[in-house]
Amino acid sequence: MSRQWETIGELGLQFFGKISASISHEIKNTLAIMNENAGLLEDYCQLADKSKPVDPGRLKEVASSIRNQIRRTDGIVTNLNRFAHSTDQWMMGVDVGDFLRFMCQLTGRLAFIRGVRLKPEPLSASVKIQTNLFFLEHLFWLCLDFAISMAGEGRTIRLTADALQTGVRIILRGLEGLAGSPKTNFPGRHGKTLLRVLEGELEINEAAGELVLILPKEVSQ
């Protein structure tokens, strides 16, 4: 058992690092845009100093771009903060619809850079489970990582969930490459360990292009 926790701990840190690096890269992008826009305002001021009138419309455009990027950065930092708090409690109540939306925002850039979009679909009813949130985020990232490879460039992965009597069924749709793809070792040794800890199951439906993650209503402590 202790070896199992060591593996989860070590690879969990790697997962935390991967997400943090992606987020900091995204922040660098928004900072770069704000930096260029601030520079552009300075350029306009210098032109105005040389008696070259500047169209107020241009200034409004720059201000609007800066505001967009501040809003974008605020969203990114909010997600980072929420992710950082995932480890606060061993067990917590998770609203699955909200979790899927959050994971799409958190990992959207990692998918986008591989040419794939993530689209959470509204659930027909609210579904809540009691689980370890950080382990769930990690396991779900492993599922997404696999799904992104199977979806292929230019595709959209749609995420949804159904309530079961015993818990929840999370479905990732649009994995066109599943049929006929060479065998992979997904979920791998580590994924299997996380599944065991979260008492979950995975189903791969090649014909439908779906990956299904089944989780219990409550993980036994």
């Binding site: 690096a21 992606s22 900091s24 890269h25 660098k28 992008n29 900072l31 770069a32 845009i33 704000m34 930096n35 260029e36 826009n37 520079g39 552009l40 350029d43 032109l47 720059v62 771009s65 967009n68 990027q69 986008f112 850079i113 591989r114 040419g115 460039e153």
Partner: protein, 147 residues
């Protein structure tokens, strides 16, 4: 003649702002939002310097650089990167990129690198012209053979 710069980055607002700033400084600027679009433009137009983002969806900065060096080996490329992809930028330099800059970058640094890159390209082209002239002077028949 103005230095012809191609900016390649999937962040449209970044491309817009940077292109305006370079035009104010009298550069001839073209923009692309993907590596694929940049390569298409490079087939039809001449550029002196390409400013290339490392992390882009679709064709990555490194793949784009490889293709640029195949079709226009003399065009100089400056890689732009967030800190998470510095290793890729260094790999880019091994593949022939002129230099790299971290985002967000200082305008003066970027301008200095663009000018240095342009000078290197101009010197390289001049050396090729001189070599061709020497070849013609040594053996005037080669001109006829080339034709």
């Amino acid at each position: 003649m103005k230095t012809r710069v191609l900016i390649v980055d999937d962040e449209e607002e970044f491309v817009n702002a940077l292109s305006k700033r370079l035009r104010i400084r009298d550069y001839d600027v073209t923009t692309s939002l993907s590596g694929e679009e940049a390569l298409e433009k490079m087939k039809h137009y001449l550029f002196d310097v390409v400013i290339l983002d490392v992390a882009m969806p679709g064709m990555s900065g490194i793949e784009t650089l490889r293709e640029i060096k195949k079709i226009k080996p003399l065009t100089e490329v400056i890689m732009l990167t967030g800190h998470a992809t510095v290793e890729s930028a260094i790999e880019g330099m091994k593949l022939g990129a002129f230099d790299y800059l971290l985002k967000p970058c200082e305008t003066d640094d970027l301008i200095a690198k663009i000018n240095l890159a342009y000078n290197r390209k101009a010197e390289h082209e001049e050396r090729i012209r001189e070599a061709k002239v020497r070849q013609i002077l040594a053996s005037p028949r080669t001109v006829l053979e080339d034709e």
